[in-house]
């Protein structure tokens, strides 16, 4: 069994990290929790923002990433998605 995460798993892990921090996380914390390189994390974040699963907010204490309703929907549907992908052997 491959230990490499596929894209869906990585997206799930990123969103879980944010949910675990009450829906809002600093970039440095996310980098630590996501277990990705800075470049990869930036690519994923940009994609998730483009897909409206994350939003970027500026507060007095700095920049944060917040999970959106669409992101929460994906997170809750993750088990179904994972089961579907596994059943059809579509892991990448």
């Amino acid at each position: 069994m491959s230990l490499r995460r596929n894209k869906i798993q990585i997206i799930h892990d990123i969103l879980k990290s944010i949910i675990d921090k009450n829906g809002k996380i600093k970039p440095t914390h996310l980098l630590y929790k996501s277990n990705l390189s800075h470049q990869k994390m930036t690519e994923y974040i940009q994609e998730l923002i483009q897909k409206e699963m994350l939003s970027e907010v500026e507060e007095k204490s700095g920049k944060f990433y917040m999970i959106t309703d669409k992101g929460r929907t994906f997170f809750h549907e993750y088990r179904k998605i994972r089961e579907f992908i596994s059943s059809f052997g579509l892991e990448e």
Partner: protein
């Protein structure tokens, strides 16, 4: 023209009901794959969605074509005028060419995922040669179902390997479903010997789609 209708008289319309189920199941899988594609932007799920969408389209075409032909035949009185036969033959030809093209396109896209064929030129060639033989040859009925059966065997083999790796109930059902669909297409090849094989093939095909539906239900319940 003598083989325009392969279904026994008493089965008219029942095959369309069975195919509605096949169409719905294919659309469900296409829709869910598309959802995953929207989340991940991954080409794999887009191809999967397209594949099942083509399969659903093929069933839709078959339902429309068969329904139209059955109604036309049932409306015939004691004798049939030549232009009615020509009209029927045209509907049959156009409808069945379109459904065969759509169904084979769906299977070839699934096969490209199973065999990890990334080169679009190879996919095009597979499609071209399948369609030419299955849609336009003199023995199109046999060749179409033989081609579909062979493609389904390769697809089922991929799902079998997936099941051997995962050992889950759902992966086992996916394999079973495609193996059953392959068997159904082999059965359809014997239709011109006796039209009861059409009924058997339709029933077996329905079972295949019901197994696939059971997987979708289990996935959606998670």
């Amino acid at each position: 023209m003598a083989h325009l209708i392969v279904s026994p008289y008493w089965f008219y319309g029942v095959d369309s009901l069975f195919e509605i189920i096949g169409m719905i199941v294919s659309l469900l899988i296409a829709y869910f794959s598309y959802k995953i594609y929207k989340y991940s932007s991954s080409k794999t799920y887009r191809i999967m969605s397209l594949a099942f969408f083509f399969i659903a389209i093929s069933y839709f075409i078959k339902i429309i074509t068969n329904t139209f032909i059955y109604f036309k035949i049932l409306s015939f009185e004691h004798f049939v005028v030549m232009n009615q036969l020509v009209e029927l033959n045209m509907i049959y030809t156009v409808g069945f060419v379109l459904l065969r093209v759509a169904f084979l396109m769906g299977l070839i896209l699934l096969l490209s995922l199973a065999l990890k064929i990334n080169d679009i030129k190879i996919i095009f060639l597979l499609f071209f040669f399948s369609v030419i033989t299955a849609a336009f040859s003199d023995y199109k009925y046999y060749i179409f179902h033989l081609t579909a059966a062979i493609l389904l065997v390769f697809i089922a083999r991929y799902f079998y390997k997936n099941y051997c790796e995962k050992r889950t109930g759902t992966s086992h059902c996916i394999f079973n479903s495609f193996a059953i669909l392959a068997v159904a297409n082999f059965i359809f090849m014997f239709v011109l010997l006796n039209n009861i094989f059409y009924v058997v093939g339709e029933v077996v095909q329905l079972v295949g789609y019901l197994v696939l539906l059971s997987v979708q239900v289990r996935v959606l319940k998670k």
